[in-house]
Amino acid sequence: MNKQIITVMLKEIKDNMRDKKSLMSSVIMGAVFMPVMFVAMMNFMVSMQKDKAEKQLEMAIQGSANAVSFISHIKTQGVKIKEFNGNPTLAIENKDEEAVVVIPENFAEKFEAGVPAKIEVYYDATAKGTTNMTQQRIKSLIKTYGTTIGMTRLQLRGISPSLLNAVVVEEHDVSTTQSKGAMLLSFLPYALILGLFIGSMYLAIDTTAGEKERNSLEALLLNPIKRSHLLTGKLFATMTFGLITMVVTLVTFKLVMPFMPLKELGMTVNLGFKNIGILVLVLGPLAIMAASLQTIIATFSKSFKEAQTYVGLLMLIPGIPSFALMFLPLKEKLWMMLIPILSQNLIINQIMRGEEVRATAIIAAIIGSLLVGLLLALLAIKLYNRESLLFSD
């Protein structure tokens, strides 16, 4: 490679390695913060679902003496009874209770007379999370009790209770914690691709808009170096940061893998050396694309700040295929592997599902991303050659 290109590249790397801000924003934010966030989110989700299913239900009841048989029934269901005295509305507003059950004094009287006996349930329907689950469980317990009693009464009168059920709905909810966890995991491709974009962002801006802003561009252009070589060196430095951040992101993911609740989700993700190798191979060529796109935008920007805004917005683009794939399951075809970002998404998803990634897919992904990346790099160089580069502000 041309010696001048290496000189420019090494200078930009050295220059930016000394900048704590750029290291913080790329490596720390992209490579460490994201995977850790990811693990925390997954664990939080799993533990919330566990709570719902396994935690003992505690029921705050006012007037439990009015319905002795109901109380003994729900006690057999493993519910813990908590006597409540006071204003149920206030208790819920103050979040002292998640739900309050009030049994009116005339409950036993009506119950014995065979007319509908009322049980009041106070709750906040807009509450989130476990509160909402509590009230649902309470209501379903009461309803089950009412149905059981009703059936017994019909049977006592010699009527088959099944007459009541003209139509039955049989629910088959196949959604499991696993599929919900898998949905979260489908965010992983974006996390990895984003790492790459975050890593190269700061350098793309610093080497172009930054050079202009600190008034060193004119002096730099006076050196006997072709502008295409100059920008190539800068692009190499930018890519290097992107690649480093990507590799660190992968390593971090590998390290935090044991802390992911994969077993609880019934998943086995194999992030062994072979799969990491595949990820590096297919994500690597994206570095050229990311660096070139960011450099083009930063070259056009009038100031460092403006460049930061636009390049920041650019990071939303790699999210599009990730989000689309979350909602639109796609049957993978080989031609899709030629589309940058989409191909990386598909391949990462295959690895997450434990499928074998085919060699043709890997090659197609590399070729497609390399090609688009190189075209964008050429465009960046062409734009950098304009005479007006210096005077755009």
Binding site: Q4, S216, E218, A219, L222, N223, P224
Partner: protein, 243 residues
């Protein structure tokens, strides 16, 4: 030697430089004296091939920068009017970077830097990061990195702009020494005093053309003025004397 022959440049409607011709020979300090916006910087930028002239021809030691920009730049050392440094690098690293871009060997860069440090008196701050440097220190580093390859032709755009007396003297002393070494020095300025103090030939630039040329003495005789400032005003206002 720098030869400029009938060079013009327009930006849209504005004719920044009109048919300018002059020669800056070796062993001499040539000054472009003119008000802000007279066309000095544009002329210089065409010489160092940052912008392309629309008409005319420029030769630097016989090399046309339009056809061989890299070759021409090797023959030139330029202090442009923007002189930002890399703040996270030391002064020495700033100079080394440009030396490497010129294809110099590490030994050559080291020796040349040592002599520039000596001549420009940069011993105190040469190994400090340039963030927070004074204006004078910054200009010295900018001059050193521009001349690291010891070029025959030296171009400086407003070299002492914003410098205090001591730094200005330092730069002048340095230019005098380079002239003794046989260099061709071309600089632009709007400061009369400075032009009078250092230049052998003065070109008065006004409205994109060279309005007059000569030594300080000959320009004063031409306009019957007693100092360069009066001579300058007389020339750029066509003898009307006032703005």
């Amino acid at each position: 030697m720098i030869e400029v022959k009938a060079v013009s440049k327009s930006f849209g409607e504005v004719k920044a430089v009109k048919e300018v011709t002059f020669t800056a020979p070796d062993h001499q300090v040539t000054a472009l004296l003119g008000a802000n916006g007279a066309g000095k910087t544009t002329t210089l930028r065409m010489i160092y091939a940052l912008i392309t002239p629309q008409t005319g021809e420029i030769l630097i030691d016989g090399v046309n920068p339009k056809e061989h920009p890299e070759k021409a730049r090797k023959l030139l050392g330029v202090l442009p009017d923007t002189r930002g440094l890399y703040k996270r690098l030391t002064a020495r690293e700033n100079i080394e970077y440009f030396g490497k871009l010129h294809g110099m060997s590490d030994i050559d860069i080291k020796n040349r830097t040592a002599s520039l440090v000596e001549d420009l008196r940069m011993q105190e701050f040469i190994d400090r990061k340039t963030d927070g440097f004074s204006q004078g220190q910054r200009v010295k580093v900018a001059i050193a990195r521009a001349l690291v390859h010891d070029p025959q032709n030296i171009i400086l755009d407003e070299p002492t702009n914003g410098l205090d007396v001591m730094s200005t003297r330092g730069v002048r002393r340095f230019l005098e020494k380079e002239k003794q070494r046989g260099k061709c020095i071309l600089f632009s300025s709007h400061v009369m005093q400075e032009v009078a103090a250092v230049s052998d030939e003065i070109l008065i630039v006004s409205d994109g053309t060279i309005a007059a040329r000569g030594t300080e003495q000959s320009l004063m005789e031409l306009t019957k003025a007693t100092n360069l400032e009066d001579a300058f005003v007389h020339i750029v206002t066509n003898g009307e004397g006032h703005e």
